[in-house]
């Protein structure tokens, strides 16, 4: 799976979780860029990613994520 493919799937997950088809992600996207991205939605994103990519995260990894680019890197490290 390529970085672009992960970002594309991640964009679909974000659009679904936030019920907003207008969301376009880049590596630099952070919670400050998406109005409803709070701690509860972060949990929903993690759960959705685990199901979609068939991976498992641990709490430290989740807490360390600073932006979407780091989410992509973390997912890529698990699916490859």
């Amino acid at each position: 799976m390529t970085r672009e493919e992960v970002l594309e799937i991640l964009t679909e997950i974000f659009q679904d979780v936030f019920d907003d088809d207008e969301i376009e992600l880049t590596d630099a996207t952070t919670a400050d860029d998406i109005e409803d991205w709070d701690s509860l939605e972060q949990i929903n994103l993690v759960v959705a990613c685990e199901k979609k990519f068939n991976v498992k995260f641990d709490m430290k990894e989740i807490q360390a994520l600073k932006n979407v680019g780091e989410m992509v890197d973390t997912i890529l490290s698990k699916v490859q």
Binding site: V46, V47, E50, M59
Partner: protein, 137 residues
Amino acid sequence: MNNYKFEDLSVGMSESFKVTITQEMLDSFKGITGDINPLHNDEAFAISKGHPGRVAYGMLTASFLSTLAGVYIPGERSLIQQVETKFSSPVYIGDELTVKGEIVELVESVQRLELKVTITNQSGKKVLRGKMQILVV
């Protein structure tokens, strides 16, 4: 009060309790929420709409999901994140409800469980069904 830790829980585990709906509960709910709709407060009106008496607030029935999570499963460590409910049938004063939750999913990374919830009346008819996502903190 139960106090399950995340590691104590497993898919398929369930808890339930019974509660009887009283007139005082409807009156208290009206006082708290300000919902004065006559279907819940005026017996003659409710009967004119084809019901045997005042209809319990759906949200009153749903409020017992708070007890299910906060007292029974997982109990003390509960932090309710999301609730989805469908009100399948009306509830009336005097109905004895059985409130039940069964774990259908556990997500270890975020310490969250998903409960399938059902509330049935004394005849075994489902009056509410839904899902809850609850963090175990």
